[in-house]
C-alpha cells in the first residue's frame, strides 16, 4: 500500500461453498479518485466491495482500508466510511428525518442540508415504506454522505433513478470528488462510469480483466471509429486517398454513401482530406467508440469488434488491415 492508496487489496479470495466468487483479486483505490468497479453480473464486484466494507470475511488475501484491516478493525474503519449498499433497506415505519438522526454520528454534517440537496426536504416526515425507489436511493446517498466520510462506497447507486435525479446524484459525486473524498463506485452503467470515474476496473470471473482510465480502455478495446458521408460520383483519387490514410482499416461505398472505418485518429485525417477536396458533406456523421463498446469487447472477449458492425472483407473496397 502506498501512502496515497486508500484501499489496497491483495490476493483476495472468497467462495460460497464450492463456488469461487472472487479469486486472487488485486485492487488499489488511490486517494481522491473516483474508481469505477464494473463487470458482468456475477463477476464478484459486490462480494469484493462487501469484503472491503468488512461485511464479509475473506477466505484469504489481505485488505487495507483507510489504514485499517476490515476484519479486525471494522468499527474504527466504518467511522470513516460512507456506504450505500446494493440490497438493503430501512425499517418500513422509520421516517426520513428519523433515519438521518439515527445514522448521524458526532461529526455528522447537518442532515437537513443534505435532504434539501437531494430533494427530500419535503419528505422529512414520510415513512421509508412510502418513498419511491428513486427517493430511497437518494436517502441512502444522504446517509452515506452524512458523516463526512473519507471513503464512499456506492453500489449500483443510480439504479431506478430518473434522468434528472441521476444528474443530481452525479453532481453530488463530482462535488465529493472536488472536496477530495475518495469514491468507489460499483456500476453497470458505462455512461455513468465514463462521466464520473478517473479509473475503471473491469472484473470477470472474480478477477480483474483490465483497468485504466475510460479513454485508455476505449483505446485498447474499442478503437474503431466510423465516418459516414454522402458524395455522389466521388473522384477516384478521393477514394484512393482515403484508403491509404493512416489508421484506416477500410472504405466502404454503397451508391453515394461512403463509410470510412479506422482508428479514432482516422476522423481527423478524413476531415482534412474532405476539406482539401473543397467540400465537407452536409450529412457528415462520425461514430465514435464508447466505453460501452469497450466493455462489450472486453467481457465478450472479442477485441476490435466493439462499437461498430464487423467489417468483413466482402464489404471492403480497399484499405489496410
Amino acid at each position: 500500500m502506498t501512502k496515497s492508496d486508500v484501499v489496497t487489496v491483495r490476493g483476495l479470495r472468497k467462495a460460497y461453498r464450492d463456488r469461487v466468487v472472487v479469486d486472487g483479486l488485486d485492487l488499489d483505490v488511490h486517494a481522491g479518485e473516483i474508481l469505477g468497479l464494473t463487470g458482468a453480473n456475477g463477476a464478484g464486484k459486490t462480494t469484493t466491495v462487501e469484503c472491503i466494507q468488512g461485511l464479509r470475511r475473506p477466505d484469504s488475501g489481505t485488505l487495507s482500508v483507510l489504514g485499517f484491516d476490515p476484519v479486525t478493525q471494522a468499527a474504527r474503519m466504518r467511522r470513516l466510511l460512507g456506504s450505500q449498499l446494493q440490497d438493503s433497506a430501512l425499517p418500513d415505519r422509520l421516517r426520513v428525518a428519523e433515519a438521518v438522526e439515527l445514522f448521524a454520528q458526532h461529526q455528522a454534517r447537518h442532515g437537513d442540508e443534505l435532504l434539501m440537496r437531494f430533494g427530500l426536504a419535503a419528505r422529512r416526515k414520510s415513512a421509508f415504506s412510502s418513498l419511491s425507489g428513486g427517493e430511497r436511493q437518494r436517502l441512502f446517498l444522504v446517509l452515506a454522505l452524512l458523516n463526512q466520510p473519507r471513503l464512499v462506497i456506492l453500489d449500483e447507486l443510480t439504479q431506478g433513478l430518473d434522468p434528472a435525479a441521476r444528474r443530481n446524484v452525479w453532481d453530488a459525486i463530482r462535488q465529493l470528488h472536488a472536496d477530495g473524498t475518495t469514491v468507489l463506485l460499483v456500476t453497470h452503467e458505462m455512461v455513468e462510469a465514463e462521466a464520473l470515474c478517473d479509473r475503471i476496473v473491469v472484473m470477470r470471473d472474480g478477477g480483474v480483466l483490465d483497468s485504466g482510465t475510460p479513454a485508455e480502455l476505449v483505446a485498447r478495446h474499442a478503437n474503431v471509429a466510423m465516418v459516414h458521408f454522402t458524395w455522389p460520383d466521388p473522384p477516384a483519387a478521393l477514394l484512393e486517398e482515403l484508403k491509404v490514410l493512416s489508421g484506416v482499416r477500410g472504405v466502404k461505398r454503397s451508391a453515394a454513401r461512403i463509410t470510412v472505418v479506422g482508428s479514432r485518429a482516422t476522423i481527423a485525417h478524413v476531415g482534412a482530406v474532405l476539406v482539401r477536396y473543397g467540400s465537407v458533406p452536409a450529412d457528415l456523421d462520425v461514430q465514435v467508440p464508447s466505453l460501452d463498446d469497450a466493455m462489450l469487447t472486453l467481457l465478450n472477449g472479442a477485441p476490435g469488434q466493439a462499437g461498430t458492425a464487423p467489417v468483413t472483407d466482402g464489404q471492403l473496397i480497399g484499405g489496410r488491415r
Partner: protein, 244 residues
C-alpha cells in the same frame, strides 16, 4: 447521543407504530384476561389453589404479556430486519457490534414493562389487583422472565429465515404456551398427560414463579431458578447471535 441511545430511541418509536406489537403485546393479553378472568367467578376454589380465580388470572396474564413480546413481537421484527438487509445497513454504518442486541433487549424490556403496567391498570377497576405476598420473588421472576423471553425472541429472530416464518413459528410456540402455561385452564383441571406437557414449558415455569409467590400459594423457588437459568443462557446466546 451515542449509537446505542439513537438505536433505542428509533426502535421505541418503531415498536409503538407496529400493529403486531399493539395487538399482541398490549391488546390481546388484556382482552383475554378480561374474558377468562371473569369466566370462573371470584369465589376461591380448590381448582385455583383456593384463590380468587380472577386474581389467579390477573397474576398469570402478566406473563402472557411477556411471552407475547418475546415469542411473537421480537422474532418477526428481527427476522424482517435480517431478511430486508436492515441489519447489514446498521453494520455498514458503523453501529457498535453489540449495540443492536442490547438495544433490542432494552426496547423489549421497556415494551413488556409498559404492557404489564397497562394490563394491571385495566385489571384494577374490574377484578382488583391481588395483594402481593412475596414481592421480591415476584419482581425477580418478572425481571428474569422478561429478560429470558426477550432473549428467546431475539434468538428466534436471528435463527428464522424470514419474517413470515418467524411469525408462523412464533405463533406456533406462543399459543400452546399461552393455553397450557398461563392463560388457559388451571393445572388442577388438566388431564395427566396435558399436565405433563404443560409443566416443563418455559411459560409455565415463569407463570408459576410469578403467580405462586404473588398469591401466597408457594415460593416456586424451583421455577424461579429455571427462569433465571433461561435468562442467563438465552441472553448469552442471543447477544452473540444478534451482534452486528
Amino acid at each position: 447521543m451515542n449509537a446505542m441511545g439513537r438505536l433505542v430511541k428509533a426502535e421505541m418509536k418503531l415498536m409503538v407504530r407496529d400493529p403486531l406489537v399493539l395487538t399482541f403485546v398490549f391488546v390481546f393479553p388484556i382482552v383475554t384476561m378480561l374474558i377468562i378472568g371473569g369466566a370462573f367467578g371470584t369465589t376461591p376454589t380448590p381448582a385455583f389453589e383456593n384463590t380468587n380465580p380472577s386474581h389467579w388470572y390477573v397474576a398469570s396474564y402478566l406473563t402472557v404479556t411477556i411471552a407475547a413480546g418475546g415469542l411473537v413481537m421480537l422474532p418477526v421484527h428481527l427476522a424482517s430486519y435480517r431478511e430486508r438487509g436492515v441489519l447489514r445497513r446498521f453494520t455498514a454504518a458503523g453501529f457498535p457490534r453489540w449495540s443492536f442486541a442490547i438495544a433490542q433487549l432494552i426496547v423489549g424490556l421497556i415494551t413488556v414493562t409498559a404492557a404489564c403496567a397497562l394490563l394491571l391498570a385495566v385489571a384494577a377497576p374490574v377484578y382488583g389487583i391481588p395483594p402481593v405476598h412475596g414481592a421480591w420473588r415476584v419482581v425477580a421472576a418478572l425481571v428474569l422472565g422478561a429478560v429470558a423471553f426477550v432473549s428467546i425472541g431475539v434468538l428466534l429472530g436471528t435463527l428464522l429465515p424470514s419474517a413470515r416464518s418467524a411469525q408462523a413459528v412464533g405463533l406456533l410456540i406462543f399459543f400452546p404456551s399461552f393455553l397450557l402455561g398461563a392463560g388457559g385452564p388451571p393445572p388442577h383441571v388438566m388431564g395427566h398427560m396435558v399436565k405433563a406437557v404443560a409443566g416443563p414449558l418455559p411459560l409455565t415455569q415463569l407463570t408459576d414463579a410469578v403467580r405462586d409467590p404473588w398469591l401466597g400459594i408457594g415460593h416456586a423457588t424451583g421455577s424461579l431458578l429455571v427462569v433465571a437459568a433461561m435468562a442467563v443462557a438465552a441472553t448469552a446466546i442471543a447477544a452473540r447471535r444478534a451482534a452486528l
